[in-house]
């Protein structure tokens, strides 16, 4: 075997590992929704146009997640390389989702093509998030001069992670992933309808307190150690802005899944968004901690 052939073989092996890690991450993050009945139903209840628009918006979020994390071991990448990886990420997620749903008997010959396409697309969204952040979560521990706790991430991404734009990208990614897990289920409506304004205020306070604690006060691994001067980087301001983003994402997903429709009252949207905003804000906090 020549040196060039050996190099090619090693690169292929490395790429296969990247894809394997991505698929494993996709399964890990996407499995809860792959096994959720409401998600299967959403695939054929939702308007195809809404699914297509949502997929497009999700692709932009995916670009951000690939920029922050990504399933490949590459370090610095331009927009072209990020788009390349985001397309691969979504493609892997679609195939993985279709295979899993097929094995579980959720896709069969009696179904129309539009039902299968819709179902796979809706279920592939969280899977693709798992594929995108696989490397940062599951890559083998690397030696790090910064000591323990920094080894899971490629070192050149560490300073990038501290940028404000990246932290808010993680807020969006984490909030979207977590809210997506709960938005389609009917329990959200059951809880929202049974809450009084006191419950709602208490839940908002709890959401803010828990996320502030997770990210700033409880010294979790990945939490902010260094407070900077920027307005958006002040702990309480970051907590409030992150919570606002979580609520907006929650409201958007409630509309997307048809839980709230324009004919419904605004109060209904607020009720539901506060309920879904709790897991959404936890996801936003976890995103900043985990990646």
């Amino acid at each position: 075997m020549t040196r060039a052939e050996d190099q090619t073989r090693r690169e292929t092996q490395s790429q296969l590992k990247d894809y394997g890690r991505g698929l494993a991450g996709g399964l890990l993050f996407g499995l809860p929704l792959l096994l959720t009945q409401e998600v299967w139903y959403s695939g054929f209840i939702l308007r195809p146009l809404h699914i297509a628009i949502f997929l497009t918006i999700h692709f932009v979020v995916l670009l951000g997640l690939v920029w922050v994390a990504g399933f490949k071991a590459e370090e610095e990448r331009g927009l072209g390389a990020l788009s390349f990886e985001a397309v691969e990420t979504l493609g892997l997620a679609l195939v993985e989702t279709a295979v899993v749903l097929l094995i579980f008997g959720r896709l069969n010959a009696q179904m129309a093509m539009i039902e299968m396409v819709g179902k796979v697309t809706i279920a592939a969204i969280p899977v693709s998030i798992g594929v995108a952040i696989a490397t940062s979560q599951m890559q083998a521990e690397q030696e790090s001069p910064d000591g323990p706790g920094h080894g899971n991430r490629p070192q050149s991404r560490e300073p990038r992670r501290q940028r404000t734009s990246v932290r808010y990208m993680l807020v969006v990614g984490g909030a979207a992933y977590m809210a997506y897990n709960f938005a389609p289920v009917q329990e959200m409506t059951v809880i929202a309808l049974s809450m009084t304004w006191l419950h709602q205020l208490a839940l908002m306070a709890l959401s803010l307190a828990v996320t502030f604690g997770l990210v700033f006060a409880l010294e979790f691994k990945g939490g902010t150690r260094e407070i900077r001067d920027g307005l958006l980087e002040q702990p309480w301001i970051e907590t409030f802005v992150s919570y606002a983003i979580s609520l907006v994402i929650a409201a958007g997903l409630l509309f997307f899944f048809g839980t709230w429709e324009p004919e419904d009252s605004l109060a209904s949207l607020v009720n539901h968004a506060i309920v879904l905003g709790f897991p959404s804000s936890l996801g936003a906090a976890a995103g900043r901690l985990l990646l």
Binding site: L49, V87, E88, E115
Partner: protein, 126 residues
């Protein structure tokens, strides 16, 4: 950045898959077809019954319309030799657009076969 054959293959297949998904969704949204549901029973056949005094029928319900429906209730009715009518209903949680679902119903063994009728009683547009 130089890309390997494997990466190019995965990227190409992914691009085609995403283009198909988005294209199909948009085609389906804007195709000039009727947007009403149309539910029909396309196949009814005898099946082995779990009770000796009953006869079992399996059937296939198809929604050939362009809108998914929820709580689709299908009623089977038949007459007994003494003229009395018996009815059974089967409800599908969902009948997605363009898809089929299998169902099964049991009727008394002595119903007059020629009087067996089935009809879609109700459904909800989700």
């Amino acid at each position: 950045m130089k890309r390997g054959y494997l990466e190019l293959l995965v990227f190409t297949l992914s691009s085609l898959l995403i283009a198909f998904v988005v294209g199909y969704l948009l085609y389906y949204e804007f195709a000039p077809e009727s947007k009403d549901p149309h539910i029909e029973i396309v196949k009814v056949s005898q099946a082995e019954s779990s009770r000796p005094d009953q006869r079992a029928l399996t059937f296939v319900a198809r929604n050939s319309g362009e809108v998914s429906v929820a709580s689709a209730m299908i009623e089977f009715s038949a007459q007994l030799p003494d003229g009395k009518e018996v009815t059974r209903t089967v409800t599908f949680a969902f009948l997605p657009k363009g898809s089929e679902r299998k169902g099964r119903v049991q009727l008394p063994l002595d119903v007059v076969e020629s009087t067996i009728k089935y009809t879609v009683v109700s459904f909800i547009l989700p």
